[in-house]
């Protein structure tokens, strides 16, 4: 069994050499202890900082915030903490990770521990500083991956525009919002005229290319707040927040012209492609967002009946 002297030596050794930063300040913010981790990373030896005021020794520290945190600890007499997630670091130390993942310096978690005397008054604050760089790198990789995943699940694979589920959910949200604030809302449903013929005559690869190009042209014709999604095989839906059917009609016509303005080159052919469009708008008595879709669909059907390559606004007598 180690005797008390050995134990003291052992404790000193451990506190000094453990792979966490340990430093202690008193009520005057004077540094009383500065372990090897702190020495190495700050490049300041203990004997040059012990006895000095923490903020004088390290003017780059966020003094106002940190001083308040220390003061609160003396008053509250309880552990407190900082996290790299809210505050990336206390001290700007270099990190030693070969793969940076965009992190420029060490990320730090910190525990502030009150050291009390026999009367229960706090005499010192002991800081333990943990290197959280790895965690922060994994976290940002995870975030990146999650975002990619979210994209994958909301995008149509072929055209890269939003998929049906996404655009329907968007409509549902816009419908709620429009109802809550009394805003206008319109929906455009459009599909490619004679698309089946493109597939039959020129093959599915040509059909795919037509879908991609049409999607892109539609995207280019939108305004910032509009949401476009691939609703069906050759069908698209556009959600137009804060727009009435007059405004929607203007946009629909613009889209129609953009799509037909230039032929689409594919399969060694120059294909002229047109779209038909149906427009619906939100009324006071529109019961649900599905009704907007149904009405746009009826209007679209009317466009087909009227010879295609045109826009129709929904009317109740359809």
């Amino acid at each position: 069994m180690p005797d008390s002297n050995d134990t003291a030596n052992l404790l000193n050794f451990i506190v000094d050499r453990a792979h966490v930063g340990i430093f202690v300040v008193n009520q005057k913010r004077e540094i009383l202890l500065w372990n090897q981790f702190m020495e190495i990373h700050s490049e300041r030896k203990a004997n040059t900082v012990v006895g000095q005021n923490l903020f004088e020794a390290f003017p780059e520290l966020p003094q106002k915030w940190l001083d308040r945190k220390i003061e609160n600890l003396f008053i509250l007499k309880n552990f407190s903490f900082t996290s790299w997630e809210q505050r990336p670091y206390l001290f700007k130390f270099a990190h030693n990770r070969p793969v940076t993942g965009g992190v420029d310096c060490m990320r730090q978690d910190c525990t502030l521990m009150p050291v009390k005397d026999d009367n229960g008054e706090v005499q010192y604050v002991c800081f333990t500083l943990f290197d959280a760089t790895d965690t922060s790198i994994y976290q940002s990789k995870l975030k990146e991956t999650t975002e990619k995943l979210r994209d994958l699940s909301s995008r149509d694979g072929l055209t890269q525009i939003f998929n049906r589920r996404y655009v329907e959910e968007a409509l549902e949200k816009e419908f709620s919002r429009a109802r809550r604030y009394g805003n206008k809302l319109s929906v455009i449903l459009t599909d490619i005229d004679f698309f089946k013929k493109v597939n039959d005559v020129h093959g599915h690869l040509a059909g795919d290319e037509v879908l991609r190009v049409v999607s892109q042209r539609l995207v280019n014709g939108l305004r910032d707040a509009d949401i476009l999604g691939r609703y069906g095989g050759e069908e698209f839906m556009v959600v137009l927040p804060e727009t009435d059917n007059q405004g929607a009609q203007v946009l629909a016509e613009r889209l129609r012209n953009i799509v037909q303005a230039e032929p689409i080159e594919t399969a060694g052919e120059s294909l002229t492609i047109n779209i038909s469009l149906g427009v619906s708008e939100l009324y006071e008595n529109t019961a649900a967002y599905a009704q907007l879709i149904a009405e746009a669909d009826l209007a679209l059907y009317q466009s087909k009946e009227n010879g295609r390559n045109c826009t129709t606004l929904f009317r109740p007598d359809f």
């Binding site: 509250l76 552990f79 903490f81 997630e85 525990t111």
Partner: protein, 221 residues
Amino acid sequence: MYYTNTASSKSDKKTAIMSIQPYTEDQNDALQEVVNIAMGQAGDSLARILGRFVELSIPRIHLVNVDDVIKTVTSMVNNNTEISAIRQAFSNSLRGEAIVVFAQTGADDLADLMGYDTDLAPSAEQELLLEVGNLLVGAIINGISDTLETDLSFSAPSLMAERTPLDQVLVPEQLSWSHSLLMEVNFAIEGRDAKCHLLMFMAEEAINTLRGILDEFMDGI
């Protein structure tokens, strides 16, 4: 009233729990008193920090089982409110997890009360919630620890949810504890008030351990 989990319970862990006795009036009384004392001290400390008169109180403590937690918290917080929440684990003689729930309006009120700009940057608002949560949880854990003379420690708090509907945050299947002590925390600073809710989740074992600790404490008086 007994909280008995019947065969209709969905998850395995709950069917394993037979029943848990609620605390007696005396045990509740003792727990309430411990928490009152802890809040008195925390309120005093907070007053010294803010330089203003602070009232910090926990009017009542409820013991609920996890399935009832949402129902109870929802009735205390406004329905359909978005909330932010922090979580903090505690251990040693009692093991569990504290969750502090702030209704969004509460978070703004708190910032205002504590003298921050209400238009805080997200990370600053998070820091505020974490600090206030840590203050409350720390005060209660320390209060229980000191007054009931039992060893308790807690670890760093972390952000659990931000501006999220309540029922997406407190999902019984995701909470690995069977019971919770539920406390409404009232802050009043110079006549204005804010509120948050503190849930101390524990397993049945810890609830029983605490019961024993309370009994021992009362015997010693």
